[in-house]
């Protein structure tokens, strides 16, 4: 019994190797989707695809702190909103470069996350969930009262952002592939972070805070850093969503949206990064597809969620791994 594991050689890349492979497969599939859609004479799916990929970015960014740090932020939609409003506000001043807008979204998000994160991190567990909700709602109500950008009614964008002076995003394909590229970049970044020194400490704090303090780490600094990183990455998704919908409204920031992000992560599989992507894809596609089948799609979708929890505790990635497709046990 106990001898067997002891004799095993050190697993060099234990946790994520399988999942990185799974993610690669996903990315290839994503890249092939648009040609397929146009071959099927259904280019419209490219637009839906863009929305899904943008949510995948947000879900993955949330998983970074939720899965690896047990920081369940229930206010992450605020950062989607910051990204989206960065587009609206800058473009109303005639600044429509994507990168400048992303930078602006990141700056806004980093500032907000730094302040609210520092306060929120005094609390833990469910209290953290609720205090992040509180800050998310404050941001939400702030933008509702922002009459200059339509308040509650939102603000519609006359055109998409430019990329270094080109109109790359003007075509749906350009927007799709830009989103995909950013998704991959964010994935690589997150993957590096969780496997780094920083990531190990951050995960350790999730596992046992007191123990980490007792070996000399001050949890606050690590958690706050991760919180800010996650917020910034989420705002990138917001910039893309604004371009996809060509419309910005506080609805991007409501707590429902924060809740949906959490649902995506948990559905996909917490603490796996790939899970965030899978969760976003499955949740949004299923919604789309069930919506076509019946007007009462929430009934089916809800049933699906319940069944997933009851029969596959580690989400979809857990299910896939159990079926032996992406072997990488953790």
């Amino acid at each position: 019994m106990s001898d067997a594991p002891a004799m095993r050689p050190a697993p060099r890349t234990p946790a994520l190797a399988g999942r990185v492979k799974a993610a690669l497969v996903l990315f290839v599939l994503f890249a092939l989707m648009p040609p397929l859609a146009s071959a099927l004479n259904d280019p419209f799916y490219v637009l839906i695809g863009t929305r899904i990929l943008a949510y995948a970015i947000a879900a993955m960014a949330l998983d970074l702190i939720l899965g690896f740090g047990a920081l369940v932020s229930f206010g992450h939609a605020a950062y989607l909103g910051f990204g989206a409003y960065a587009v609206a506000i800058l473009s109303s001043y005639g600044i429509d470069d994507l990168f400048l807008q992303i930078a602006a979204g990141i700056v806004m998000s980093a500032g907000f996350a730094l302040i609210t994160g520092a306060i929120s991190l005094r609390t833990q567990g469910v209290y953290f969930i609720m205090i992040t909700l509180a800050f998310g709602q404050m941001a939400f109500f702030f933008f509702i009262s922002l009459s200059a950008y339509g308040g509650d009614d939102g603000y519609s964008l006359s055109q998409r952002s430019g990329v270094l002076g080109t109109d790359l995003l003007g075509s749906d394909y350009g927007l799709y592939y830009t989103t995909l590229a950013l998704l991959i970049a964010v994935f690589v970044l997150c993957n590096r972070i969780v496997n780094s020194r920083f990531g190990r400490v951050f995960t350790g704090i999730r596992e046992n805070r007191t123990r980490m303090e007792a070996v000399g780490y001050a949890p606050f600094r690590f958690q706050l850093t991760a919180f800010v990183i996650s917020a910034c990455l989420t705002s990138v998704a917001g910039v893309l969503l604004a371009n996809q919908a060509q419309f910005v409204s506080p609805a991007f920031m409501s707590w429902h949206r924060s809740g949906e992000l959490i649902v995506m992560v948990v559905l996909g599989g917490v603490g796996t990064l790939t899970g965030g992507i899978v969760g976003a894809v499955v949740a949004l596609l299923l919604e789309e597809w069930l919506g076509m089948l019946t007007h009462h799609w929430p009934l089916l979708f809800g049933t699906f969620l319940v069944l997933m929890v009851l029969f596959s505790p580690r989400g979809i990635t857990g299910l896939i791994e159990r079926l032996g497709i992406g072997r990488g046990r953790r």
């Binding site: 637009l47 509702i144 009614d153 060509q246 609805a251 007007h295």
Partner: protein, 373 residues
């Protein structure tokens, strides 16, 4: 402008986009039912084989934008009809109208699209959002009220409502209270009203908020203070408030008891089919179907000539249950507005009833900012 691909086949395709799930669904459901009722009565709309696609925007603007694009780009519809809510309209307006497809709003009528951003592909069969509030302002003015208490939810439409009311009311404002969106309990506000004893209350509380307010208003024994409202006491909320709402006043462009042939047909058919009294939302969607029918017939089923089609729509050649109906230069209606009162009808249902006409052939305040003259 390009002619949409759809225009070339001989099927008339119409996409309905309404909020059909969640708490605010009651309005969208009425609108859809109203449209479908008309479609059923007409049979082949515009004399063409008709296909109607109904989609639910779930009250989410970003989703609505996608759904609208799906209707236009994937389903190649000729008309998009809807939505109920202004934020949804803001989100779908550009995706629909920029492709040359015609968008007919059956409820939301925001000021920007009435004014500076008016668009030849955008029509509305309802009103400009402020108008019902203006009706109540004018009524308060006419009654000589000197001290009106204003209470609206704290969001864009609420603020617009106060602005609309003040547009035609010049008296004093006893108090101006912005309640939380979705507020349950108004006891604190009602206490203020009781303390101020204003000449009247003006409020705009759509949906469940309105039901709560109306019930609590009568429970608090405030019925002696006139209750003026818009979008608060109507056929979507009366089944819930019932007796508590009777006698409360509102501003509207129509009421189900209006005395004309078209209206009698509409209302009785609706009641028969859905076992409830239709509200404005149903009527306006019903008219949208009639409008499309009349316009397409005029063009003889030729959907490729967009200019002709638009011109035909502008003529608005159909019998609206509300009587006079025509389009202004900004494609918003020019119509009459009434003071309505909640009553228990002879057939046992609750509904609104016309009390008096306030505005005749009323043009909205933004029309002159529209460049399409």
């Amino acid at each position: 402008q390009d002619v949409p691909a759809s225009a070339n086949d001989d099927v008339l395709k119409i996409g309905l986009i309404y909020t059909l799930s969640g708490p605010p669904a009651a309005l969208g459901v009425q609108a859809r039912d109203g449209f479908m009722l008309a479609a059923e009565r007409i049979g082949e709309i515009g004399g063409m084989e008709t296909e109607i696609i109904v989609v639910d925007d779930e009250g989410r603007p970003d989703l609505a934008a996608d759904k609208a694009r799906e209707l236009v780009q994937r389903e190649n519809v000729d008309f998009v009809v809807g939505p109920i809510f202004s934020n949804i309209l803001m989100a779908i307006h550009q995706p629909v109208t920029s492709t040359g497809t015609i968008l007919i709003s059956t409820n939301a009528g925001t000021s920007n699209f009435a004014g500076a951003e008016c668009n030849p592909n955008f029509f509305t069969t309802s009103y400009q959002n402020d108008q019902n509030h203006e009706v109540m302002g004018a009524y308060a003015e006419q009654q000589g009220y000197q001290n009106v208490f204003l209470m609206v939810p704290n969001y864009q439409a609420g603020k617009d409502s106060v602005a609309g009311f003040k547009n035609s009311y010049t008296g004093n404002v006893a108090g101006e209270v912005y309640t939380e969106l979705g507020q349950l309990d108004f006891s604190s506000e009602l206490a203020q009203i009781a303390a101020f004893q204003p000449d009247a209350l003006f409020t705009f509380m759509p949906g469940g908020m309105g039901v709560n307010l109306v019930k609590q208003y009568s429970q608090a024994g405030l019925t002696s203070i006139p209750f003026l409202s818009a979008f608060t006491v109507d056929e979507t909320t009366l089944p819930a408030t019932q007796e508590a709402a009777v006698g409360l006043l509102g501003g509207a462009n129509w009421a189900p008891d209006m005395d004309n042939e078209a209206n009698r047909t509409f209302v009785s058919a609706y009641i028969e089919k859905y076992d409830s009294v239709p509200g404005t939302y149903a009527m306006q969607a019903y008219d949208a179907a009639q409008l499309i029918d009349s316009a397409v017939r005029k063009t003889g089923g030729d959907l490729t000539d967009r200019d002709a089609l638009r011109a035909a729509i502008t003529e608005a050649d159909f019998d609206s249950p509300r009587g006079d109906f025509s389009f202004g230069a900004n494609n918003y209606p020019v119509q009459d507005f009434y003071l309505v009162e909640a009553v228990k009808r002879d057939d046992g249902y609750y509904g609104t009833s016309v009390k008096e006409k306030i505005f005749d052939d009323y043009v909205d305040n933004y029309a002159d900012q529209c460049a399409m003259q």
